[in-house]
Symmetry: none
Subunit: 235 residues, 2 copies
């Protein structure tokens, strides 16, 4: 190894297991080999393996039961693409999904200032219809610096905006801050999305920091509080 600083062993192990789980090598609900077996197979001490497993448990990929074993969680979002997605059905869960409705260049003084850009800076604005289990759940407006790319086609971002960021723009979102209040349904309301609570609507303002610790994305989300909730878990 000529690497300047290689990662700690327990991180290497946890990342290895994370990839294997993500690749479907270990299936949801399945029990992993015992600590002793795994440690031996991987050639590390049990304590080191335990630290890796603890890491994955706190990240929600594993569940560890004393006397029983270590199990792969039925991760609803194994791909980590939905890592920061915080909306779920009030009836519980729901597989997230998004349709890009609209993609245009605009200027916006407020957003520009949040992004630390001149007020007349060109921006990209995405408007998406978010779905949970294929049911319209929220409307979303996302803004990024317009200089990232001269041209963006809807096809580029149809899969996942986060993948697009990473693959095409060379950054990824590592941290977000959400502010949740109440707002009115915006006027670009989509016909498929019709909250019926008078005009009151759940409203999320999000700032997203990239791996370079810059605010690279600002988004606004309106959701129907009758069918959808914002869920936050803290430890």
């Amino acid at each position: 190894m000529s690497e300047s600083t290689r990662l700690p062993l327990f991180i290497q192990i946890s990342e290895l297991l994370r990839r294997e789980i993500s690749a479907g090598y270990w299936l949801p609900g399945e029990r992993l080999p015992t600590e002793a077996e795994l440690a031996k197979k991987l050639g590390v001490a049990v304590g080191t393996l335990r630290k890796a497993l603890t890491e994955l448990e706190s990240n929600g990929l594993l569940e560890r039961k004393q006397g029983s074993g270590t199990y792969v969680k039925n991760a609803p979002d194994s791909s980590a693409v939905y890592h920061f997605f915080r909306l779920e059905l009030k009836s519980g869960g729901g597989l997230p999904n998004a349709d890009v409705l609209n993609l245009e260049r605009h200027t916006n003084t407020h957003v520009a200032s949040l992004l630390g850009l001149p007020s007349n800076a060109p921006l990209w604005r995405f408007r998406r219809l978010r779905k949970l289990d294929q049911q319209p759940a929220a409307m979303e407006e996302i803004w990024i610096d317009g200089r990232h790319s001269e041209h963006i086609a809807i096809e580029d971002v149809i899969e996942s905006l986060y993948v697009f960021y990473r693959e095409k723009l060379g950054f990824w979102i590592s941290r977000v801050q959400d502010s949740i209040t109440v707002d009115h349904v915006p006027d670009w309301k989509h016909p498929d999305f019709a909250p019926d609570v008078g005009s009151a609507c759940g409203y999320i303002e999000r700032l997203s920091w990239s791996n370079q610790d810059r605010i690279e994305e600002v988004s606004f989300t309106w959701y129907d509080p009758e069918s959808v909730r914002y869920a936050a878990r803290w430890t």
Copy 2:
């Protein structure tokens, strides 16, 4: 010790240190003795002490710097009591505070089921007026198992419910889950708290797990989305 199930040693240590920090025995910014010294003084292995310190670090009471030492964080005032408090002024920040308005025994089928109790189980219900910078910001209703204590006086909980839980009831909240939607202002609306957004109101339903990993507390919060927001940070 004749206790049926005593707490793990590293938890006992972390709670001891937590009390000492909270009592001001260790001052903010101060450096703690080295791991080796502390472990020796407390009569535990270094590894055990490390686990306790890690616990406190993740709770934001300590900061550990390799090569330097372990420092008491300049906790904004009554440390970690507001660890799970997630409301802030839309204008930014705000020092949190609470008035206990009402404290009674009730039964409630819905809450009882959330707590895993029989539907007619006696419960304690706290109603509080939450303030930010002394301004009324939200109304809060908190439910716990009625068997925890036969009598609770308002004076007992006037400082902090969390401190009361830990000191008098012997548990503490280590994890919460929030669901944020929109609701109507409840009918026990306090005269000082008058959201003026029609009848739409920010609404938080919280489940709180204790250190024993049981749901020990259920709470409902109504906040004025005109002046207050729910703020969540993710990494």
